[in-house]
C-alpha cells in the first residue's frame, strides 16, 4: 500500500521535492519571446540614438570649425599683404633687397619715392 507514513524519510523527501520539480507555466514561452523582442527593439533604438548623437556632434564641429579663427584671419591678412602692388613692383625692379636695407623698419617709404629720390 502506498502509505506515506510507512515511507522512509529519504523517500518522502525525494517524493515531495519531485512533485515540485517541474512547474509548467502556460504561455511562458510566448512571454519570453515577447520580452526578448522588446529588448531587441530597445537595443536598436539605443544604437540609432547613439548614431544620431554622434552625427549631431560632427555637424556642430563642422559649423564651429568653418567660422574664421584667429589663425585664418592672420593668413588672410598675409595674403592681402602679399598682393600689395608696390611690393610686387619692387620685386620686379630687383630693388627690394636694397630698399629694405636702406629703409627704416618702422616707416618703410614706397618704391615710387625711393625711385624718385635716386633719379633726382
Amino acid at each position: 500500500m502506498d502509505n506515506p507514513h510507512n515511507k522512509t524519510f529519504d523517500q518522502e523527501l525525494a517524493a515531495s521535492l519531485s512533485r515540485g520539480r517541474s512547474v509548467a507555466v502556460p504561455g511562458f514561452a510566448d512571454r519570453v519571446v515577447a520580452a526578448v523582442r522588446a529588448a531587441r527593439r530597445r537595443r536598436v533604438v539605443l544604437r540609432w540614438s547613439s548614431v544620431a548623437t554622434a552625427a549631431a556632434a560632427c555637424f556642430v564641429a563642422i559649423l564651429t570649425l568653418a567660422s574664421p579663427t584667429e589663425a585664418s584671419l592672420n593668413r588672410q591678412t598675409l595674403a592681402l599683404v602679399a598682393r600689395d602692388e608696390s611690393a610686387q613692383f619692387a620685386d620686379l625692379l630687383g630693388a627690394a633687397d636694397d630698399l629694405s636695407l636702406l629703409s627704416p623698419a618702422v616707416d618703410k617709404p614706397s618704391v615710387v619715392e625711393v625711385l624718385n629720390a635716386s633719379g633726382s
Partner: protein
C-alpha cells in the same frame, strides 16, 4: 529525431542567428524544470517566473557566445543559481517563508491526499529554513537529480563541499521534521 542535448545545441545555433521560434521551443522544453527549481529556492511562484524569464533573456543574449561544453539544462540552472544569489543579496535576507505549494494528489483517498499535502508543506517549510548552500545543494541533487559534479560546477565549489552540504541538509531536515519522523 535528435536527442534533447543535440537538439538543444542545434536550437541554440538558431537562437544565435535570431530565430525566435527556436527560442520558443527551447523555453517550452526547459522552463518547467527551471521554474520548479527557482520556486524551491525563492519560495514564490511569481518571483520564480520572473527569474526564469530573466534566465532565458540572458540565455538569448549569450547565445552567440555559448559553447556546448555542458548540457544546456545545467547551464540554465547555473544562470538561475546566480540570479538567486543576486535576489538574496537584493532582498538582504534569505527566504524563510514556506512555499505557496499546491499538492497534486496522487492517491485516491481523500485522507491520503491531505496527508501528502501536509507533508509537502512541512518539507517546503523546512527546506526554506535551511542555509542557502544546503538548500541549493539538496534541491539540485534530490529535486533536479543532478550529479554531484554538475552541482559543484553550478555552485563553483569542490564536490566534497557539495557532499557535506547535502549531508548536513538531510540531518537538518530530519531534525526539523522530527514531529513526522521521530528519531529514526
Amino acid at each position: 529525431m535528435l536527442p534533447d542535448d543535440d537538439d538543444d545545441k542545434r536550437l541554440m545555433t538558431l537562437v544565435a542567428e535570431g530565430d525566435d521560434d527556436a527560442l520558443r521551443l527551447l523555453v517550452h522544453r526547459h522552463h518547467a524544470r527551471l521554474v520548479g527549481y527557482l520556486r524551491g529556492e525563492v519560495g514564490s511562484q511569481a518571483t520564480a517566473e520572473e527569474l526564469a524569464m530573466e534566465v532565458f533573456i540572458r540565455l538569448h543574449r549569450a547565445a552567440a557566445r555559448w559553447r556546448p561544453e555542458a548540457k544546456l539544462s545545467t547551464y540554465l540552472i547555473h544562470i538561475a543559481h546566480n540570479l538567486v544569489l543576486n535576489e538574496w543579496r537584493r532582498r538582504g535576507r534569505k527566504p524563510t517563508t514556506a512555499l505557496e505549494f499546491a499538492a497534486e494528489p496522487g492517491d485516491t483517498s481523500q485522507q491520503s491526499a491531505r496527508r501528502v499535502a501536509e507533508l509537502d508543506e512541512a518539507f517546503q517549510r523546512a527546506i526554506a529554513q535551511l542555509p542557502p548552500e544546503q538548500r541549493t545543494a539538496i534541491l539540485l541533487v534530490v529535486q533536479q537529480e543532478l550529479p554531484y559534479e554538475d552541482i559543484a560546477e553550478i555552485m563553483g565549489v569542490p564536490v566534497s563541499s557539495v557532499k557535506t552540504w547535502i549531508h548536513r541538509a538531510r540531518s537538518r531536515l530530519r531534525e526539523l521534521l522530527k514531529d513526522f519522523y521521530g528519531n529514526q
